[in-house]
């Protein structure tokens, strides 16, 4: 496997990124290429990611997969890649530029909008809801928050968003945040946890205060799946992280070989709950 494709992601510690990584590694095996996968510790570290991209370029890769924390900040390096004729494939939420030859991504805003629709129907179209989001400044955090909030504002005038707080995806912090939100809002009907860590935090918080609310999560993981099966969590949005990783590498290989491929690879998002969690089509998207 001499063809080397580094993937620079937005993170590496979260389960979501581990799932993307496993998809990429699967594709690497299937297509007989070598991949590496790395990302900064937090989604705030824009410059660290740029340094990673620079180091990746220095390794003379055949192609590069890139999930930009900030598209603009990366443009000089992406131009360099273009000049060196290294194909760039964007993944996750995409890169705001025409340099990437393809984008394998989830539309986070739309996905969060779907979560809003589900929340609305589960709480009967009216009442107070809140959000626990993982990050205030990162693209995914902003898109999911705004996707949810805008959908509620546009379609459900009787639903009020009473609080939006940020827990860095830290389960403990998100738990404490959830408890304060519940405490401050005795009539709260539901909370949307915008990534895995936030969602688990919301679950823990509600459980510790013994409050029955509608919990909607994002992504999967062992705990979320168990909570959905037991009914503690109403449901969650899943992306297709393994698919994102796989398709990114696949597109990169095609680009290297000069084959044709779609410019937009929508890896999709799905609502899953108790009813369809074991549906093989959904189950394939979920990770532990």
């Amino acid at each position: 496997a001499d063809t080397y494709i580094p993937l620079i992601s937005k993170g590496f510690q979260h389960q979501f990124w581990q799932a993307v990584k496993s998809g990429a590694e699967q594709a690497a095996k299937d297509l007989n290429v070598k991949v590496t996968f790395e990302g900064p510790e937090t989604e705030a570290m824009v410059d660290k990611q740029i340094d990673m991209l620079a180091a990746a370029l220095a390794k003379n890769p055949a192609a590069i997969g890139f999930a930009a924390l900030d598209s603009q900040a990366a443009i000089p390096l992406l131009k360099k890649a273009q000049a060196a004729k290294i194909p760039v494939i964007a993944f996750d939420s995409g890169v705001d530029s025409d340099i990437p030859l393809a984008t394998a991504a989830t539309n986070n805003a739309l996905a969060a909008g779907l979560a809003a629709d589900k929340m609305a129907s589960l709480i009967g179209g009216e009442g107070d809801v809140a959000l626990v989001v993982h990050d205030q400044t990162s693209r995914t955090g902003i898109d999911r928050r705004d996707g949810f909030v805008n959908q509620i504002k546009a379609k459900y005038p009787k639903i009020k968003i009473v609080s939006i707080q940020y827990g860095a995806g830290d389960q403990l912090k998100s738990t404490e945040i959830t408890k304060s939100i519940l405490q401050a809002n005795p009539n709260l009907k539901g909370i949307f946890g915008a990534n895995e860590g936030s969602a688990i935090g919301v679950l823990n918080g509600a459980k510790e205060l013994k409050r029955k609310i509608v919990v909607i999560g994002y992504d999967s993981g062992k705990q979320q799946k168990a909570a959905i099966r037991s009914g503690e969590m109403a449901g969650a949005i899943t992306q297709n992280p393994v698919g994102i990783g796989y398709k990114t590498v696949e597109a990169a290989v095609k680009a290297i070989k000069g084959e044709k491929f779609d410019k937009v690879i929508d890896t999709g998002f799905y609502w899953f709950d108790k009813s369809n969690i074991d549906d093989p089509k959904i189950a394939a998207l979920l990770y532990d």
Binding site: F12, Q13, H14, Q15, Q18, E41, Q136, V162, S163, Q165, Y166, D170, Q171, L172, T175, E176, I177, K179, S180, I181, Q183, A184, P186, I200, N204, E208, L209, G221, K222, Q223, A226, D288
Partner: protein, 338 residues
Amino acid sequence: MSTDLSQTNDVSLRSLRAALFDSAAGQLLLAFASLIVLVAGFGIASPNFLQTDNLIGILQATAVNGVLAVASTYVIITGGIDLSVGTLMTFCAVIAGVFLTYWGYPIGVGVAAALICGALCGATSGFLIAKMEVPPFIATLGMMMLLKGLSLVISGTKPIYFNDTPDFPVIAQDSLIGYLVPSLPIPNAVLILFVVAVAASVVLRSTVLGRYIFALGSNEEAVRLSGVDTDFWKIVIYAVSGAICGIAGLLIASRLNSAQPALGQGYELDAIAAVVIGGTSLSGGRGTVLGTIIGSFIISVLTNGLRILSVAQEWQTVVTGVIIILAVYADIMRRRKT
């Protein structure tokens, strides 16, 4: 005989005065007063704040940081600093996960493994500091990174769940007090915090270890010249502190029903802030565990209160920063007056 009597009288009088005006006691009073003011303020600002549930929530939210802060107190009184408490906590949680979930040992073994592992890591920091003379800041900064990496390596960057040992989450989450007083379902984590704090306080004030903790922080060279094996005692102190971090690791793992390998960094600053707000001096030689506990509560009350008031998060950070400075400044003012 008369000597003894007069001395006793003298002592009781002096200790009363001391309790009221002494540096340490006064500091505690001041810190406690700030805490009361905060609680009262938030209570007035929001009707939801003073509800039992929320107060219990604050107690519970303090448990992990409180235990870490107690661990830091020892080290800080010696004049050192420990930046690794947060990631050591995580590392111990992961070790517990490995023993219980991966290897299927009974809970007792897992608990012991976490504590021993904490003590060993602490002793390693202590060894670096005492024998290899690496400054505490650097030794524990290195340990922080080392342990962060190792937690990820050992766990395979995945959380380890305690689903096969359903008794494990009970450690922190159940409520012994709630069995006795059903209206007070204070979770065990809080109980454990208090047990740790009381034990740590007794050790600090009434044992040889405690004596050396203060002595080292006051003038290490003098202790060494007195023929005390300062290296040995430093290693012991860091080991004890590490074991306490192990307790924090068990608490957090039990509460989250999982060992989250990526967690922990940043917790050290909260712990240090709690210690200092509680009146312990960063230059060593002075401090109390009780102060640290009050400091921890000040931080969690603040955090909880601002959240209850739905203050925007960026402003929460601003306010917390200002309060930390003010709390320490008030302490300094008070001490300067006397």
